[in-house]
């Protein structure tokens, strides 16, 4: 990857992070004059967790999207389209509303288990190097099943407010999370990203096919297992805290591979940066939308991401038809 795009990407990420802390500026500016400790508390306890969550969750979606796309040899594989985020949401809902555990650790464990279940089901249904149609259909089926089971779990929940309670979280939200909650999402995400980066070389050699990667000495089954577990671990923890956020994991790796000359493994690092940048940007859109209320960030990523996904499908079809 050449140096200039890398520097520009890092600068853009820093700028988005700083904006995310600073915007909207007038309340902070006013508070800084009147009550400095309160202004700092607002920054530290409200805005910093939100910015950190956007960065960590976005980076996790980008990195795991790049790894999953490399693994399935398919640019349409991503944590949301494979049903991973829906599985994680189901796991967290069952943990919270059926078993009644609402501590961040319990939610994270439930979500990781749900994400792992969804990914293993996908591997079983679609196979390790699935055709696009099979992969999307299997992912769609798993998402639909997980979505239906999530609704069922909420309907059967002892609390009559379960639906109302879970709605904002299910749509994806970074608002009003504590630093402790942030740590429960960001620490697993960071660990998972660092461990995924180790697998880049093996993923690159997978470009030549599984057999050649094996002849190089890469254990492809172990690689698959590691990517599935790390994705479930990192994405699951983020979903437990922030709900399901779509399309970042699809879009970020596609841009990242443009920077790495198409190498799927080398794209993991830039995909993490781009993912973080995209989610920070989406959150800035949420804050600056003149609606008088907070939109769920998952709605914004879906509104921006879905047209991109449609374009991608049309583009692939056009390329195949040529």
């Amino acid at each position: 990857m050449s140096r200039l795009p890398c520097i520009l990407l890092a600068l853009a990420l820093l700028a988005a992070f700083a904006l995310s802390l600073a915007l909207p500026w007038p309340p902070i500016a006013a508070l800084l004059e009147q009550d400095r400790p309160l202004a700092l508390a607002l920054l530290w306890e409200l805005r910093l967790p939100r910015a950190l969550l956007a960065l960590a969750y976005g980076a996790m979606l980008g990195a795991s999207g790049a790894a999953i796309q490399g693994l399935f040899a398919n640019p349409l594989a991503s944590p949301d389209l494979t049903g991973t985020t829906s599985g994680a949401a189901l796991g967290a809902v069952i943990t919270a509303y059926i078993f009644g555990f609402s501590a961040p650790l319990a939610l994270a464990l439930g979500a990781v288990a749900g994400a792992l279940g969804a990914l293993l089901l996908l591997l079983a249904l679609a196979g390790p190097r699935a055709e696009t149609a099979t992969l999307l259909l299997a992912g769609l089926a798993i998402s639909a099943l997980a979505g239906a089971l999530t609704t069922l779990a909420l309907a059967l929940a002892p609390s009559p407010f379960a639906f109302y309670d879970a709605y904002e979280w299910l749509m994806g939200s970074l608002v009003d999370r504590s630093l402790e909650q942030t740590a429960f999402a960001a620490a697993p995400a960071l660990a998972a990203i660092l461990l995924l980066l180790r697998l880049g070389r093996a993923l690159d050699s997978l470009t030549l096919g599984e057999e050649v990667a094996q002849s190089f000495g890469h254990d492809v089954r172990r690689l698959r297992f590691e990517i599935v577990c790390l994705t479930a671990f990192g994405v699951g923890a983020c979903v437990a805290i922030c709900g399901a956020i779509g399309f970042v994991g699809l879009v970020a790796p596609i841009f990242a591979r443009r920077l790495t000359g198409g190498h799927p493994g080398r794209a993991i690092a830039p995909a993490a940066l781009i993912g973080g940048l995209l989610l920070l940007a989406a959150d800035l859109v949420v804050r600056s939308a003149p609606l008088g209320r907070t939109l769920p960030i998952g709605v914004v990523t879906a509104l921006l991401g879905a047209p991109f996904f449609l374009w991608l499908v049309a583009h692939m079809r056009w390329r195949l038809a040529r």
Partner: protein
């Protein structure tokens, strides 16, 4: 003396019966046999792909004991498939298994330099084959394991590739190549290995193997006045019973 290749009881469950295989000094060995006879499986077993059993030593070293960077100096495997998962530039693809200088040298040897920056999905199948062959040749490993390398190549490049493999052998590399063109195999190979139903059934001098009754039995073809002709049944004799209308080769026994 350390053999270039010593394989003991190598096999692949359900596809290749455990067999021994050796190459004492650098040589070009061609694997021949009908579809499904076990050529690819033997290459896989030697390259340690897909849960192969048995023990393989190349220059006395077990591939399993080596990290990828060392292993690619020991063996290189070229699959029969020309599919590439991601549309990398030709140069980047060749560099996946070697350093930059080696990759450039291998591309120059296969006259690919002018395609170096082009995405592999925008090359013809034959050009892509040459890129993949360059990838496999670039790290100059001790043992080349090539599955149908001449498929998709035009006649000139088929010859050039076989000459290039001969040159590799003269430079001290060993090559084991699965192929279907019996004449090309016989012309360039130092040794022919005939396979059938997941087992090695004959192994020796090309001329001897090509003229053997075993080859006729396995393939159901025979050379008559310089031309390969299908026998109506693998066990039948005589020139009168070729299938009418140029029918297909009868199944092996």
């Amino acid at each position: 003396m350390t053999l270039l290749l010593l394989a003991e009881k190598v096999g692949l469950a359900g596809r290749l019966e455990p067999c021994d295989f050796a190459m004492e000094t650098p040589a070009l060995i061609c694997l021949i046999g009908p579809n499904g006879s076990g050529k690819t499986s033997l290459l896989h077993a030697l390259a340690r792909i897909g849960g192969a059993s048995g023990d393989v030593r190349i220059d006395g070293r077990r591939p399993e004991d080596l990290v990828p960077a060392e292993r690619r100096r020991l063996l290189s495997y070229l699959p029969a498939s020309r599919d590439i998962a991601w549309p990398l530039a030709a140069r980047d693809l060749v560099r996946l298994g070697s350093d930059e200088d080696e990759a450039d040298e291998a591309m120059a040897a296969l006259e690919l330099t002018r395609w170096a920056g082009r995405r592999v999905d925008r090359l013809s199948t034959g050009e892509r084959s040459r890129v993949l062959i360059a990838r496999a040749l670039a790290p100059k490993p001790r043992l080349l394991l090539f599955d149908e390398p001449v498929a998709n190549l035009d006649p000139l490049w088929q010859l050039r590739l076989m000459e290039r493999l001969g040159e590799a052998v003269r430079n001290g590399q060993g090559a084991i190549v699965a192929m279907h063109d019996l004449d090309l195999a016989a012309r360039f190979a130092d040794r022919l290995v005939l396979m059938d139903q997941g087992a090695i059934v004959a192994d020796g001098e090309p001329r001897t193997i090509l003229a053997s009754a075993r080859l006729e039995a396995v393939f159901g073809i025979r050379k008559v006045s310089g031309e390969w002709r299908a026998l109506s049944s693998p066990s039948s004799d005589g020139e009168g019973d070729y299938p009418k209308g140029g029918g297909g080769v009868a199944g092996s026994d």
